[in-house]
Symmetry: C2
Subunit: 165 residues, 2 copies
DNA sequence: CCCTTTTCTTGACTGACTCAAGAAAAGGGC
DNA sequence: GCCCTTTTCTTGAGTCAGTCAAGAAAAGGG
């Protein structure tokens, strides 16, 4: 416990940031939930630090991103997500149904891992890749809903689909 | 002129959509500006159709996307953009400074053009690729600003950088 | 031309995020 | 340990993109 907090404090100092309660709280939440949005971080961090304000969280996250200890991702149609895994140029899988996000290692290595053949005069520093699809849980749920609608196929289970946030 | 409108009308009917003035206006704007956001579309379309409401434009764009005659892209940190180029799985170059967007043909062909080695149980239907960098105009501007700050290098021109959008 | 369905206008509202000012906390120097 | 400066956090108002809902207007088949 103490060791963990010491580690976070160390990481903050390394990045040239002061060690504060809000920053440690946000680091703790991000360690638990690797793709949390600002609202989730506020909610969860308040369990330990009830006076924490949303604006503090926005400020902390901005400082983390500027210092290079967090990365911001913005899948279309969702609020920004933050992750502590930085510097390895990995990409993301996003579920169209529930918004779940998973990491994928970059297939090709260093950033930018891809280069267009005709860059139209642009100097490119990053290739961002988002894979859109359906996560395992949503596939299971959809299969169960389909089975309920057409019981001939999988009648033996009689399962029901629960909404998966 | 009439031929053009007739073509748009035809395209709408093909897609199963009624032909209306707002829809023709939005198509016209998108033909001129291949990566316009909703606000720009409202402003430009009102030159021809002053009573057009923002909500009508949101509705029209939603109908276009649902019908497959437009595509919505959402670069991080910017409002959604719309384009008429659909069905070819192309990708985008986005300028970090001015937000300019250019199309790039997909290097690999059909969608999803990439596949992660470990998809973590996801079924993937699309790989979205965004190349981030600096467009030609912003490179020129930055070079001029640098020259103004350090005149030894390129003194002979004495150019000044204008803020670009 | 009429009638039904779709679409558009008007206007209120939400969610994510930003801006600004003053209060509180961090951490180096003594 | 205490003080002082700088950074950071809290509080509160504001912005921007987009959504929701209800009634008016327009499309297009009969």
């Amino acid at each position: 416990m103490v060791a963990v907090e010491t580690t976070w404090a160390h990481r903050l100092r390394e990045a040239g940031l002061r060690v504060t309660r809000p920053r440690l709280s946000v680091l703790g939440v991000l360690a638990d939930r690797p793709h949390a949005d600002a609202g989730t971080i506020v909610t969860v961090a308040r369990e330990l630090h009830p006076s924490l304000s949303p604006q503090a969280v926005y400020g902390v996250l901005e400082a983390f991103v500027a210092a290079g200890i967090a990365r911001r991702i913005e899948p279309a149609g969702a609020p920004a997500l933050f992750e502590l895994r930085v510097g390895d140029n990995h990409h993301h899988l996003v579920c169209r149904s529930c918004g779940a996000v998973a990491d994928v290692d970059c297939v090709l290595g260093a950033a930018p891992c891809l280069a267009p053949s005709d860059p139209a005069g642009f100097v490119i520093d990053e290739a961002e890749v988002v894979f859109w699809g359906s996560c395992q849980a949503c596939q299971n749920r959809d299969r169960q809903v389909a089975a309920a609608a057409d019981p001939v196929q999988l009648e033996e289970h009689g399962t029901r689909g629960g909404a998966g946030a």
